[in-house]
């Protein structure tokens, strides 16, 4: 019998996935705080942190700057690591089974200039857009992520 692991599909339903079918997909996310507000990514299904997959041959600091610039328009510099979590899920679209090592870094905005946002088709369908959230409001918003983002953001403070 093949080894399996429990993962999730895009709607959060539990699914069993064959371990041999998993694709490694390291990803990086930024925690950016300014004037007691944290920069989040608002999507139809809830708030997430900006970030995404690391490309092969790409350094983590380059991946995080690229993703955050594409999703929010801000230019950031990667600071220290805050948390690492594991996630097993089925990618919407391609249906690929993925094992993600998710790395959450504290980041700092390095330029006043905000560039144009470039979203992926998988982000535009969820009406994704950046939004600054008051730290005091964090407990009251709907988080659209299986990781405990509120605790991770607090740990970064």
């Amino acid at each position: 019998m093949n080894k399996t692991v429990t993962g999730e599909d895009k709607d959060g339903n539990k699914i069993e996935m064959d371990v041999a079918s998993l694709n490694l997909r390291p990803s990086v996310y930024g925690i950016i705080v300014k004037d007691n507000k944290v920069l989040m990514f608002k999507q139809d299904f809830g708030y997430t942190l900006p970030g995404g997959g690391v490309e092969i041959g790409e350094k983590l600091k380059d991946a995080i700057s690229r993703e955050i610039k594409e999703e929010t328009g801000y230019q950031v510099k990667m600071k220290n690591i805050v948390e690492v979590t594991d996630s097993f899920f089925k990618l919407p679209g391609s249906g690929k089974n993925c094992q993600t090592i998710r790395m959450f870094f504290l980041c700092e905005i390095i330029s006043e200039e905000i560039s144009e946002i470039h979203l992926e088709p998988t982000e535009t369908i969820f009406n994704s857009k950046p939004e600054w959230i008051e730290l005091s409001e964090l407990e009251n918003i709907k988080i659209g992520d299986n990781a405990d983002l509120v605790s991770i953001i607090k740990k970064a403070m």
Partner: protein, 160 residues
Amino acid sequence: MKTIEGLTMSGEKIIINVDDLHFRPSIYAIIIKDNQLLMTKFGEYGYFLPGGGIDLGENHIDTLIRELKEETGYTVEVGDLLDIQTAFVKSPVKEKYSHTIKIFYKCEIISENPQDIKLTESENILNFTQEWIDLSEIKNLKMAGDDGKLLEIVKNCIKK
């Protein structure tokens, strides 16, 4: 073809084709006891930390506990997350190129069970051993597949 600067296990700089790379997330323990750091010696290649690659289907903390048990016989408690480093490395055993993502945690030894030690074929080929190294000696060691960041991580761990 897109290329990138990488290194061999002996620390020599090489140029790697990005298409040849595959992800290798891995996890390592910093264990300090009586002013000594537990290190892994990869034969002639030099020293690094105990730990290793995260298997498919495995939670990264489970990897660290499993690897420590298999390599050192120590059962450890995983503590603070310390650092993450990326490197592009040519494997010394197989003709493989890795995009390594190394995650470092501070750990403490809970118990010692030498009968748990179980080395892999690659580890045996590399003449893999464990040594306790005086903290003051680390800077003089030859490091395996590391671009000089390890000493900094150990220093930050002590400061914490």
